[in-house]
């Protein structure tokens, strides 16, 4: 990991690595373009190789871009920022390891933000695998960065219950009915975080992090709209376009894919100097994202050139 103490030689080697990899990709794309003009087809494995290089190179030689939060991301940040300390925020981990590279950075950033503001967090999940993902937040964020926070007092993990929207249909009126204890078998009534909370309607904010089903759509349908509870979300990029219509009336804000996560991380670092040395995986991911997108756009252009050339040749016949 590079930082201010990285020796100059290492920095120079990283720069050399960047130049070599970019030259390699540019030369390869030129070669593909020439082949396309000559109407020669390219094997699909060559395309996979290009994508691999364009993703691997910025990981080996990291490139970090500056991000500025868009209004849809800023709305979530401002909401957490505006809540008074001690507010009750529910974070639902509705994702599995397959979605984790995209949404785990969001979950960690939300946790950091809520804990630094002194909010009480209720962790739960509609995905069975969400419980394992919460463990990562526990090990990477809560224990090392907030050792003073106490389980049951500052945050609580109530875990997973099967039933998808059925679970939400119950907790909109009665939490205890569905979650009689937390994951450590502590009874509901003995958990300090739950004092004054009977149902989801008593929460100040709900954030669902995920991208599958059950997920944010179910939260909006079964809790947000009927209970008039403010809901925000961080979702995998694949489902983000389907959720934008809910913003801003039914969703107060949305983090779409790793770009949304990077914007949130940059906002967090800009506002709180204590997070300057905290990991920012989403910001680091924007380097590979940018290069891979450029390569894919180049492929689209090359594909179209091949198509137009082919049609011209057919027309001449």
């Amino acid at each position: 990991m590079m930082n201010a103490f990285t020796p100059p030689l290492a920095l120079a080697l990283v720069d050399i690595g960047r130049i070599i990899s970019l030259t390699l990709i540019a030369a390869g794309l030129l070669w593909l373009f020439i082949r396309a003009i000559k109407l020669k087809e390219v094997e699909r494995r060559v395309i996979f190789l290009f994508i691999f290089i364009s993703v691997a190179a910025p990981i080996l030689f990291p490139t970090v871009f500056k991000e500025k939060a868009t209004p849809v991301v800023k709305a979530v940040f401002d909401k957490i920022e505006s809540l008074p300390p001690g507010s009750k925020v529910l974070l639902s981990y509705d994702f599995d390891p397959a979605m984790a590279p995209e949404v785990q950075p969001m979950a960690d950033a939300f946790s950091r933000h809520c804990l630094v503001k002194g909010h009480k967090i209720i962790y739960m999940c509609l995905f069975a695998t969400g419980q394992g993902q919460f463990t990562r937040t526990m090990e990477n964020v809560i224990r090392p960065e907030f050792p003073e926070k106490i389980d049951g007092v500052d945050y609580v993990n109530i875990g997973y219950k099967a039933g998808n929207e059925g679970v939400l249909n119950v907790i909109i009126s009665d939490f205890k009915k569905m979650f009689p204890t937390d994951v450590n078998a502590v009874p509901y009534d003995s958990i300090e975080v739950f004092k004054g909370i009977r149902s989801c309607k008593d929460l100040d904010l709900i954030i669902s992090i995920g991208g599958g089903r059950p997920g944010i759509k179910e939260w909006v349908l079964f809790v947000g709209d009927p209970g008039d509870v403010p809901i925000a979300t961080g979702v995998a990029a694949v489902v983000a376009p389907q959720l934008y219509p809910y913003y801003p009336k039914q969703l107060l804000g949305l983090l779409g894919g790793v770009k949304g996560a990077a914007e949130y991380e940059s906002e967090l670092v800009a506002h709180y100097s204590r997070f300057k040395d905290s990991p920012t995986p989403a910001l680091l991911m924007m380097g590979p994202q940018t290069l891979a997108h450029i390569v894919i756009m180049a492929f689209i252009i090359i594909g179209n050139v091949l198509f137009i050339q082919g049609r011209r040749k057919e027309g001449k016949r």
Binding site: A128, T129, K161, M178, P180, A237, V238, P241, V258
Partner: protein, 270 residues
Amino acid sequence: MKRTTLILMALVVIFFALSWIFKAMAFKGVEEHYILQGFLVTLAAFLTLSIMSFLYKDNPFYKFAEHLFVGISAAFWMSMGFWSTIVGNLFPRLSEGMSNFFKVHYIPGDYNFFFYVPVILGILLLMRLSRNYGWISRWSLAFIVGTTAGLNFIRYLRSDFINQVSSTFVPLLVDWQGIGHFFSSLNLSASGQFIMMLANWVIFLGVMCGIIYFFFSKEHTGLFGRASRVGIWILMITFGASFGYTVMGRISLLVGRITFLFRDWLGLNI
């Protein structure tokens, strides 16, 4: 099986066995269970590369990883459902003896005879495993489908229909104080008057033209036809945005896996 395939498989096994040894040595002194930890990281790397090997062509390693993933996923979800819902929610309400047996907190006074209904329906669902009595499981399935449809009907009608129609009725003139004020305060800020108005006009025209494209009771000619053409452009732009987001999502997953291989498995300091 061909001889070359066997040799290849043996080489792969030897390679990952060596990797296990090296990883275990690297974890020694850092992790308490360093042999197990070394095995887990090596296994994860093996499974990642097995899945990725499909990009070259279908092969036994990919098949193995795929079947393992499906099997473990199903077993994991089933065991989580049993321990969190049946043991965590049902037994504490039904019986003190069962609660003590599974070491969960008994909830006195919460007993309800109707809790047996889902128990019976759950058992009926398992009848699917029987060739002769498999048809009984349809009763449970019918209950699940009916309940879900009933619940979703109301919620979708409210959130995805009424609320979405209401969200489409946006003001076409935002904060309008005359043409002079509009031009004097013209800026490209995302929350500025011009951009807000532009966004609302795009929503209004986009919805209208999109609906016109799907209206087949009138021939798509003249002004109606032009609106229909705009409608298909709106749809194409929407699909393009979805495609772009999908690419971003897939690249993120690849970044996650490559980072794991480089940092956790190969031990590169990135």
